[in-house]
Chain length 386, copies 2
């Protein structure tokens, strides 16, 4: 039941009319306590949506009582009118729940530039419905209401033998290159943890999960990942155990996002090993993940390893290009910068694809999750606004 | 007649069997003097093809008598065998022309990893044919022989009233993001200029032309632009006039490359104005040119300006994202970070597309030339190697 699995949370999803399809498009997640600890990470894009600008202020005191999320419009580059819409939304939720607007996080997703009076009216008119629909099994509706081009909701849960649990929901699909993705994620826990601990755990987890998805190289203006703790289990979770569980849950959600990326037919894990530093491994993995030529080749089931080497050669990471080994789905097609095993041995028909790059320059490693470049991606993204 | 327009040059193109289609695939351009001044710029990719590694040494003394170029194989990541192939090719040309191998530039283009014994034999067996086919009207054959996925040869000429001329040929198509592009360019002139002057003129011209093409964000391992001067006009060209003419010719060839980029249906000029510095303008233009989402939208004739702002927000250039104006084909769809003129007014049906970004942060400007992301691009690059 995703975000309503942990004790102390209710959620809902309703139809506000933001999506032309008439699907669920407005979600509310409420922390009923006893505590309202929270942490959040946001897009590092300088072009930030109004809800991000608002929520960055809300999270400062580490207290969040509710998160309201809409699909059907990003409310980004909509000016002061758009910011007022976000503010009014938080106020409306606060009034209905009898809490402070400064404890209401707002998240929006959809087309950038959408945030006019019709948009505002649709949200404000339906805030009461989200409140009256709140329930202990509302997680799935909330997860459905935040979808844009996602084909299905993404949810995950984790339970500790110590007596606490974590629940999460996410949406992704396109503009999916979180530095910190059009990714919205809400994670809840009933562990009894303070905001500082939540913040450390969340940053530790997102750094090696959501931050390592690079589906299409495009960083969103609205990415938000938030973690709410109700303390309702009464268990003060061990920070290390909690961070490990949270990281595993974030990785689970990351892989769900990758698996449902717009138009994708391959989930590609770019594993960079023996790098001089973790940063180097990430830089190389990300450069390779952004090669349209390689991604189109993978779509065509073509093990075109030369495009891997051409991409990594654009980075300033430490390595000798002529010493590098590249394996594709277990076949070492390039050894020390020369053709080795036959490319004909590589089977790229499975959706899961692994490209292993051995830099031979150290002991660090990182894996970047990306997708192939397909006709469906082009189609979906050439027709999105219309 | 492209590279054979200036006096003092002969050229040829022959069938060496490198292309499975049986088309022209081996070209030779020879400077018959009286002087053999030359300059060259190469890919800044650290993964450099063997012919680039060779040619970087050849150009050091500023003297080049001949350039041999093949399509049908990049001879990149082919190890010491591949380097020996390049060396042997230069030696074969030198022997046939009775010149020094250290004055023979070698350029290759095609699939990375191709450079085996069959490749070597095909080239070496056909060097004599390229020499015997040399003629004063061989430019067009040479321009055809360097094509890969190009649909037609690219050639340009410029003539000065002072009595000298410039000729150029180029190939591009994919992996087209010169920093310096799978771009090979040979430019000839009969102006009487020394290598240092040629080098200054070439770097000045390529910096604002070829270096500002970013068709698909993928930098090649084989890009080479070389400029040869025969001095055969007997006219010592004025450096400023020569550099201006050379820059105009390079821009002409750049636009030909853009117009024939793999699968493209729009030629997009991203004009960044009022930037704090030229570097900022280039950084912003390049970031926007690499947004697959924007490029797919343009393919779909969708003026999705939010994707422009999302892309530039990922840069560290100086600007306030909420002050930026964005116009598409003359319609200001975004003014000061808010929707302005209706997107419905934008006509994206012409192939030529202009995106004007006003950063309002200074007086510098730059234009990046890119293309849209289309079904044909995906198709062509998912099937290239097979």
């Amino acid at each position: 039941m995703s975000v309503t699995r942990p004790a102390g949370f209710t959620a809902s999803g309703v139809v506000a009319g933001l999506k032309s399809t008439g699907a669920l498009d407005l979600a509310l997640v409420v922390n009923t306590g006893p505590r309202t600890s929270a942490a959040a990470v946001f897009t590092s894009n300088r072009a930030k949506a109004n809800p991000v600008l608002w929520s960055e202020q809300v999270i400062r005191d580490g207290a969040v009582s509710a998160v309201i999320l809409n699909s059907g419009g990003a409310n980004c580059f909509t000016g002061s009118f758009g910011f007022q819409t976000t503010h009014a939304t938080a106020e409306a939720v606060a009034a209905a729940l009898e809490i402070s607007a400064s404890d209401v996080l707002v998240c929006s997703t959809g087309l950038i530039g959408t945030g006019d009076q019709t948009f505002r009216d649709a949200i404000l008119d339906h805030v009461p419905a989200t409140v009256s629909a709140l329930s202990r099994d509302g997680g799935p509706d909330a997860a459905a209401a935040i979808m844009t081009t996602d084909t299905h909701p993404k949810q995950a849960v984790a339970e500790s033998p110590a007596g606490w649990s974590i629940g999460g929901m996410a949406k992704g699909a396109g503009m999916l290159a979180p530095g910190l993705a059009t990714m919205l994620v809400v994670i809840t826990t009933d562990a009894d943890l303070d905001p500082a601990t939540l913040d450390r755990a969340l940053r530790s987890a997102t750094r090696v999960t959501f931050d390592r998805i690079d589906s299409d190289g495009c960083m969103s203006t609205n990415d938000t990942v938030t973690l709410l703790a109700s303390g309702a289990s009464g268990v003060a979770a061990d920070e290390t155990e909690f961070t490990e569980a949270l990281t595993a849950l974030c990785l689970d959600l990351s892989r769900q996002l990758q698996a449902d990326a717009e138009g994708a037919s391959h989930d590609i894990a770019i594993e960079v090993v023996n790098a001089a530093s973790e940063d180097d491994a990430v830089v190389v993995g990300r450069a390779v993940s952004r090669s349209n030529l390689l991604k189109a080749a993978i779509f065509g089931n073509d093990p075109n390893w030369g495009r891997v080497l051409a991409a990594l050669g654009t980075t300033d990471a430490v390595f000798d290009p002529y010493e590098i080994d590249v394996s594709m789905n277990g076949v070492m097609v390039c050894r020390r910068g020369e053709p080795f095993e036959s490319r004909d041995l590589v089977d790229l028909t499975p959706r899961a694809t692994t490209i292993l790059i051995d830099l031979k320059s150290g002991a660090s490693a990182a894996t970047i999750l990306t997708n192939d470049l397909t006709h469906d991606y082009v189609h979906e993204n050439s027709a999105y606004a219309s």
